[in-house]
Amino acid sequence: MLGGFEMADGEVVLKVEDLHKSYAGVKVLNGVSFEIDRGQIKVICGPSGSGKSTLLRCLNLLTNPDKGRVWLEGQEITDQIRDVNKVRQKIGFVFQEFNLFNHLTALRNVSIALEIVKKMKKEDARDLALKELKRVNLEEDAHKYPAELSGGQKQRVAIARALAMNPVIMFYDEPTSALDPHLIGEVLDVMKKLAQEKLTSLVVTHEIGFARSVADEIMFMGDGTILEQGPPNEIIENPKHEMVKQFFKRISELYRRDGQ
């Protein structure tokens, strides 16, 4: 099921080289380069407008980068020949606003792409979908529609929907930012569980606790580039760049206030 996870550590799953993207003359990405090895969890933080979401969208070709190259499992996906639908099947994408299909039950939300894209038989797709919903602790809500679910449940359905495609890497685009505070925990718990299963992930988030406990590395983005990257504790406790210092200072103040 989790094909590929047994492969040797250190194998590069995603390689990004000098990515650039502008919108209407405004530079959003200004030369981003990094790599993720199999089983690694990398967290991207940074102020809004620093290009985090654009980066994720360029990486699964929902947006075309202006310049730069991306390789997924050693194959270049920015070479114009690649079938984008094939590439996207290998990348699980979790959106900030869940983006569930409102006319389908949780179960159908997970199974529809299995049937249509992966051409699985209806029963097989259903079985796999149930299994993935179980993985995110939602098997009892399989027959509910998105509008009948809480935000946290919706996001877990969205995670199950991405997992069902058996991706080689997961992208999370601020997965808890649209949630009420008391629902964030259930989503983070699922993400932590997946991280412990060594599911390669790229996570845009401001949840510093999550980054600290599961991330192998934090990449801090600002002005369209990666300003600083390294182990979570190093970046959070001892940042070098002024913008990074300011950012974590503000976040830690916020947490302290919340804690009282």
């Binding site: 639908n85 094939k86 996207r88 529609y145 991405a162």
Partner: protein
């Protein structure tokens, strides 16, 4: 009066013709409307331009002018030999397509692109994403507007009397000419239209309620 009672079944049998015109027109309009709505939202600039012109044309001309234009002009000139009924159905359909496209277009736009994006991120191609994700929801949203289109179509179909299509109004006029009694036949015809309009919107309402998405209030 006795003669009139004999004639009323003759008018009543026009219901089949009227419903045929409406069903045919709505069906053709539905296909055109869906395709053009998709084209107008997702198509290239050329496609959008063409659809815009089409909608503008069919919404600008009176239905009677369209009927005469196509029956006496466009179809003969292009070598089509259509009888009045077929010509009427086609013209009603082409025109309804212009209106229906705007109903569906509004519905598609109101969905936003979040779900389409999610479908694409799962590896669905554009066509499949539109077919499986966008359209099922857009059609539900469209239903109230669409039931209005049905009511308009029922009433518009009467204009085909100008081509002698044997629908309700044409038959009623024949009866009035034969009996010199206008009041009851026209009231009777009017009653038929009221019943058909009312029943039609009731049916759409039932379908709308049945296909409601659980938990979703308001928009859908």
């Amino acid at each position: 009066m006795a003669a009139l009672a004999e004639f009323l079944p003759y008018i009543l049998s026009g219901v089949t013709w009227t419903l045929g015109l409406v069903a045919g027109g709505l069906a053709i309009g539905f296909v055109i409307g869906i395709l053009m709505a998709i084209g107008q939202v997702y198509g290239s600039e050329e496609i959008k331009g063409f659809i815009h012109a089409y909608v503008w044309f069919f919404r600008s001309l009176p239905l009677l002018v369209l009927l005469f234009l196509f029956y006496w002009g466009v179809f003969p000139a292009t070598g089509f030999k259509l009888d009045p009924l077929a010509c009427s159905i086609v013209v009603l359909g082409l025109r309804s397509g212009a209106y229906q496209s705007q109903i569906f277009r509004g519905a598609i736009l109101s969905l936003g692109d979040a779900q389409l994006l999610a479908a694409r991120a799962l590896g669905m191609n554009r066509l499949r994403a539109i077919l499986h994700i966008v359209l099922p929801q857009a059609l539900r949203i469209s239903m109230p507007g669409w039931s209005n289109e049905y009511a308009i179509m029922i009433k518009d179909s009467a204009i085909t009397f100008a081509l002698g299509v044997l629908e309700i109004l044409t038959r009623t006029r024949y009866v009035v000419m034969a009996t010199h009694e206008p009041l009851i036949p026209y009231f009777f015809a009017g009653g038929l239209f009221i019943v058909m309009t009312y029943a039609g919107s009731k049916i759409v309402n039932v379908v709308y309620e049945r296909t409601k998405i659980p938990g979703l209030v308001g928009r859908l």
